[in-house]
Symmetry: C2
Subunit: 183 residues, 2 copies
């Protein structure tokens, strides 16, 4: 098996397991079992578990933001684009294996012990916030709105994760719509 293929399979398994059951309750042996990549190979690709976690978050970050942007760009109107963010969140929340925001979960588990993971979480959130700011800016709306929309989105993610419900997305969307109207 090619190294690149083994790496992808390892990351696929890591993502499924870490996201689904949490990082700490998944052992490297579980990753081997799910991926079919031997321990020796796993440790060649990722010298320690923490680096596998980092790679998992990094790859997921790229995909998550990419899919969000792709969804948003299907809309023309600048204000529609902003609301589309919350529609996309709602679709995500409704997926059967949705288990909350992967970065917030990782932060809760590892933020206190792994500075690198904590940094990745902050970077991901900053990137998401910056993306919202760019949408707000493109709509000619005041900068301060971006922070408010960000808080709504974060609140929706965390609440959807804890309650296992997609409803927070609709609530956040409605709040966002009202905030857009006040300016």
């Amino acid at each position: 098996m090619d190294s690149a293929v083994a790496r992808e399979r390892a990351l696929d398994a890591a993502e499924e397991l870490f996201y689904g059951r949490g990082v700490q309750s998944v052992g490297m042996d579980d990753v081997r079992g799910t991926s079919g990549v031997s321990l020796k190979r796993l440790y060649q690709l990722f010298p320690a578990k923490e680096q596998l976690v980092e790679a998992y978050l990094e790859r997921r970050d790229a995909r998550w933001r990419g899919q969000l942007a792709e969804y948003v760009e299907r809309h023309e109107e600048p204000e529609e684009r902003i609301l589309a963010v919350f529609d996309w969140l709602g679709e995500w929340f409704g997926e059967p294996d949705f288990r909350g925001c992967a970065w917030l979960n990782a932060y809760g588990e590892l933020g206190a012990t792994s500075a690198r993971v904590a940094g990745q979480v902050r970077a991901h959130k900053r990137a998401f916030r910056d993306y919202l700011a760019s949408l707000v800016d493109a709509a000619g709306l005041p900068d301060a709105l971006a922070g408010q929309l960000f808080l709504l989105a974060e609140g929706a993610m965390v609440t959807a994760g804890v309650t296992r419900s997609a409803e927070p997305a609709a609530e956040a969307r409605e709040a966002a719509r009202l905030l857009l109207r006040t300016t």
Copy 2:
């Protein structure tokens, strides 16, 4: 040492350590060292670590909601009371040992493995949401607003925790103020 005293000391130590460093990275031995309560006594009071965690969350829940209500009730106007929630959050975020929402942190760490902890987190969040709903109702505002304010508060807590900043409280307060005005 009286059993009740030992219990309080154990819970004080547990709260300081669990909240400050996370549950998983604190051992029962650390709790003994900080509290001065022997392991034997600890296990008499709390037959397993999970029950110490539950007791920690339960006691903190009572205090957290009590202090919030106390702060809010210092204000007369119904709408001022709603905004006071966010002022209180801002004061909390600014405390030097603030490390995010204890329940969301616990959920990230243990939500996937401990059904009882997950249930406590949901109960705490539901109680907070219900409290917001009672404030909204007392102000004669539409029920739907409660959910939106809740999302803003949750987003502020989570963002303040990750970024170690008190600013999200002010942002959420401003968003809340705008939402109050739209109705």
